[in-house]
Amino acid sequence: MRFQAASDQSLLVYLSEEIGAAAHERVVWLMRLLQREPIKWLRNIQPAYCSLLITFDAAAVDHAEVQAKISELERHAKKLPAAEPRLVEVPVCYGGEFGPDLDWVAEQRGLPAEKVVELHIAPTYHAYFLGFAPGFAYLGDLAEEIAVPRVETPRKEVAAGSVGIAGRQTAIYPFGTPGGWRLIGRTPLEIFRKDREPMGMIAIGDQVRFRPITRAEFLATRRA
């Protein structure tokens, strides 16, 4: 475990220096330890691939005290029972108006578009963490054969439900927001709804699979 002040009111705790299942397990483990008992000075926890950003009440504690508390939690923690991973299936209409970058990705990687889709739906993805926007889950690992860089100038607006890829990651845009990932398809499902419990369709630690659907199925689901 490595500690690094991020601001005068926050501390980064690095649990690994390398993305992967082992790092993720440690991140979720520490997150759950911090969530288990109410800690008065704890204002926010932001998990990521290998780290947690911990925001604290700087009028109550300083970085050293937060660090000491986390080290203590780590020392005394019993192994938490592993959470049952949820499997979430996401229907996606690939290409065309819904996936304007599909052909570009195919061309870049020298593959037919159908092969790109095939490689995208093959794995069961792992939701490493949520960031960027409410409900936006970073899913990995994308097949190396279809890994591409982000667009140079992010689009001003990406449609809600768009499925993007960037590097070894894939994700679904929950809202119409600016976005820099390559868009290969779109889901008709609402990824984040404030009137639903849970609000986000995908939570940290979930397993996610994509299922290809036709344009007609997309429109039918939208209308339902």
Binding site: A5, S7, N44, I45, S51, L130, Y138, M199
Partner: protein, 313 residues
Amino acid sequence: MSLLVVESAGLQTTVQDFGREGFGVLGISASGAADAVALRLGNLLLENKAGTPALEITLTGGTFLFPDGAVICLAGANFGAQVDGQALELWRPHAILPGKRVVFGATRDYARCYLCVAGGIGVTQFLGSASTHVLSGLGGWEGRALRRGDVLQIGKLRKNIRRRKLRPGVLNTLKPEKKLRVTRGPQFDWFAEEARRALASGNFVVSEDSNRIGLRLDGPRLAARVNAEMISEGAPVGAIQVTPSGQTILLFVEQQTTGGYPKIANVIGADLHCVGQLRPRDTIRFEEVSLAEARELWVEQQKLLGSEERLFA
């Protein structure tokens, strides 16, 4: 409840309180007032709770009709607000009689003014806060900036209002500065001596392309010395990150919660309210302080803001 009718909304007027901190696990940033100090003082002058929802008005104002009257206080930037051609002084309670409208012009000094109402602005809370998160369309009034024709519920017009006044010196102590104090960011070491010097001594101009999510800063190029691809991690509000093309971005209240760009510095908590008052084309500078100094400044500011005796005459 009484009503507030939006006759014209201004550039971007949203409902804001102190925000919804604590939902990082869901990918939700806190949002909340861009200048939390002004919001707090405006509410306290009305004897509201410090974090009561108010309207945050940005750069150019709007016109707001009060069919049932209200007691209001304007806090923050001076938009030359008037009722019946009479100027409304900032930082003091005013009774607005039934049927009167408050007309805002364009700002004359800073970026944002808070229209606080005695009894607050009534909107449905989302995750414990009334704040609007514009990017995701969540919270506030229908998850968006106000438009002409919107009708909001507000607190009732009170007959007896205490004419509270801030002590002389309070506003000067809390004045939004253009020199922002920063602590070192988690990737400070990734930047060469030249970039560190440029951060400490350079002028940066707030670009037109700035908002509650982040401020783009034009200035010296702060290229990172390390070319390694960074692993995305949580980014605190006030983080100053640098993209590979050399663009400097200051993450603000509606920030994305994680990011993969190296962060050279971070605006201290006690100066975050100053960021909320920056306008496009403003020139700003940075000054490095230690974590201990930043903490002292924060504790001192919190003490002042929490002390009725020190704030009010």
